[in-house]
């Protein structure tokens, strides 16, 4: 009796369907009531672009190397740079036009100094488009409390100059190198202790590791160097520059 068998299996399958939806009914909804509840965005999410500051000194990490500006496919980033009294480059003006930013994250990849990052902020509705063009102060303000994983251990701590603008050496590593041994030791003591042998070299670029470093620091550096692959993609030109200069 194929018909009877079909009939019974049909009823069974109908009940099976009811079971599926019925079991869904008491489950907790995944919907969040958006303006009241929000998703916790992961650290690496691609929200709006911000400028990161040094946690202790409160200064921008930016060295005005212009790599992010060059990497930006939509030309959303505009930088004007200048040299400070110590002869180091710093960003005089740093503008991100969020109306044309495509949140691709290439600027973050290009940056060698943990200076620019896509933050978790994503609410870009404004009444006037011009409110979306963020200047340096706004970008710094938005990046003030953004947590980030440093792309490299901060051994320049020992080598970092105190002065206001971009404390780290950019392409102008000629200026950066001599400055290094100066102050700021107190800023990052924990890393400085372990990384002493490599401090100068490391501050410039980790590209040099293979050629001229002793074995021990290399071993130490690698595990902490989470972002080194990123560096490679974005920083070829600077890395080369520095090498040549050295």
């Amino acid at each position: 009796m194929g018909v009877v068998k079909d009939f019974i299996s049909g009823i069974y399958n109908l009940l099976l369907g009811l079971k599926v939806t019925g079991l869904r009914l008491p489950e907790k909804s995944v919907t969040l009531q958006y303006p009241d509840e929000k998703w916790e965005m992961p650290e690496r999410s691609r929200g709006i672009v911000v400028l990161l500051s040094d946690k202790e000194t409160g200064e921008l990490n930016c060295t005005a190397c212009m790599l992010c500006m060059r990497a930006c496919p939509t030309a959303a980033i505009q930088i004007e740079r200048d040299k400070n009294e110590k002869g180091k480059w710093y960003a005089k003006a740093f503008t991100v036009d969020n109306t044309i930013c495509c949140f691709c994250g290439l600027c973050e990849d290009a940056c060698n100094f943990d200076a620019i990052k896509l933050a978790t902020y994503y609410e870009n509705s404004v009444y006037n488009q011009s409110e979306l063009v963020w200047d340096k102060d706004k970008l710094q303000e938005m990046g003030r409390d953004v947590p980030y994983t440093p792309k490299r251990p901060k051994k320049k701590a020992a080598a970092k100059p105190a002065p206001k603008p971009a404390p780290k050496p950019a392409e102008g590593s000629d200026a950066g190198a001599p400055d290094k041994p100066k102050p700021a030791e107190d800023a990052k003591p924990q890393q400085a202790a372990s990384d002493k042998p490599s401090e100068k070299a490391e501050a410039n670029t980790d590209k040099k590791e293979p050629d001229n470093k002793p074995a021990e620091p290399k071993a130490e550096d690698k595990p902490s160097d989470a972002g080194s692959d990123k560096d490679d993609t974005g920083s070829d030109d600077t890395g080369q520059d520095k090498k040549n200069e050295k």
């Binding site: 369907g17 939806t21 019925g22 869904r24 009914l25 489950e27 907790k28 909804s29 995944v30 009531q33």
Partner: protein, 346 residues
């Protein structure tokens, strides 16, 4: 009930004024109709909200949450919006037919509640042909839907109306036959006597007529045009079906009538198969409402589980499966009752 007090008050008032007895009848029935209309409107609003909530939670969503507690006032807000909308009459429509279709839909839905017992003494009118009256009056819906489809002068609407006519006429047959089994046991067409004949839990006719109940459930789902039998308003094919040209309050009438039809079908199922308002402890109307809402929930459950049938499958199912099964059920019930009477005695 307290309603009796109101009726007596109006009766004495009319006596005082000196109007003929006909006026008392008129006032009383107007009151009943008003109360019923109020209850049903609130019920329709509630059902729309409930359906949205059930569907949402079956899909792990939340549904309306903003208007009132968990969005309970959402349908009220929607209704207010529809009231404010322009009442558009497209050019080329058959004006009379177009205008009266939603009125008839709502009126027939409303009229079907005349013999439905809400409680022990809570029934607008205990007609002695109760269930037959309901079957007759609900069939009017098909005429109204056909009117809407034809009058709209729109191909989608016409298709929806035609499908609705074909579907309701087809499923009317097994629906009626499935009710016959109950009537054999109850030996009455009056809704109150049907309810009274299933006083105890095991007297519920669903235990004597399980097949009859299944056929009734399926056929009534088709009757009220609900998924998986919602071909007359299949959104993916027909835009919206027969009501595609309607806007504002006329559309709302179709919409509310659809949900009230679902409630009607559930109320009939409860009355016929689940002992109506019978139940211990709680007041009878609570039992009636509770049972009805359970059936309504099952219909909603169907809707958010099953995909829509194809037209030819729909017809095949009605004529090749439900109809023979309904006949089988009727014949078996008849033979069973006859043998029981002959062997065991009444």
């Amino acid at each position: 009930m307290e309603l009796h007090g109101i009726f007596e008050y109006f009766g004495s008032l009319i006596d005082k004024i000196g109007l003929p007895g006909f006026w008392e009848f008129l006032v009383d029935n107007t009151l009943i109709a008003a109360v019923l209309l109020g209850v049903l409107s609130v019920m329709a609003l509630f059902l729309v909200w409930w359906e949205r909530k059930v569907s949402a939670h079956m899909q792990d969503r939340l549904g309306p949450m903003r208007t009132g507690w968990h969005g309970v006032l959402q349908t009220l807000a929607d209704g207010m919006k529809l009231l404010q909308k322009e009442d558009i009459t497209p050019t080329g429509v058959d004006r009379g037919v177009f205008f009266w279709a939603p009125v008839i839909v709502f009126a027939t839905t409303f009229l079907a509640y005349v013999p439905i017992p809400w409680g022990e003494k809570l029934i607008p009118a205990d007609l002695n042909i109760g269930i037959l009256y309901i079957l007759a009056i609900t069939t009017f819906t098909v005429i109204a839907l056909l009117m809407a489809g034809w009058g709209s002068n729109n191909k989608w609407a016409l298709l929806g109306g035609m499908r609705s006519a074909a579907q309701i006429i087809s499923y009317e047959v097994p629906l009626t036959l499935s009710i016959m089994g109950v009537l054999i046991f109850a030996e009455s067409l009056s809704m109150q006597s049907i309810v009274k004949s299933q006083a105890g839990f095991f007297d519920w006719y669903v235990f004597r007529q399980p097949l009859g109940f299944l056929i009734f459930l399926v056929a009534s789902t088709a009757e009220v045009n609900r998924t998986p039998f919602d071909l007359p308003e299949a959104e993916q094919e027909l835009v919206a079906g027969f009501n595609v040209e309607y806007s504002g309050m006329k559309f709302a009438m179709f919409f509310l009538a659809e949900f009230l039809n679902m409630f009607t079908a559930s109320a009939i199922a409860v009355t016929l198969f689940f002992g109506g308002w019978n139940g211990p402890l709680l007041p009878s109307w609570v039992w009636f409402l509770g049972k009805t809402l359970v059936i309504v929930f099952i219909l909603m459950w169907f809707r958010w589980t099953y995909p829509r049938l194809r037209v030819d499958h729909l017809m095949e199912f009605a004529w090749k499966w439900l109809l023979p099964l309904a006949f089988l059920n009727l014949i078996l019930t008849g033979i069973g009752v006859y043998l029981w009477d002959a062997l065991v005695g009444k």
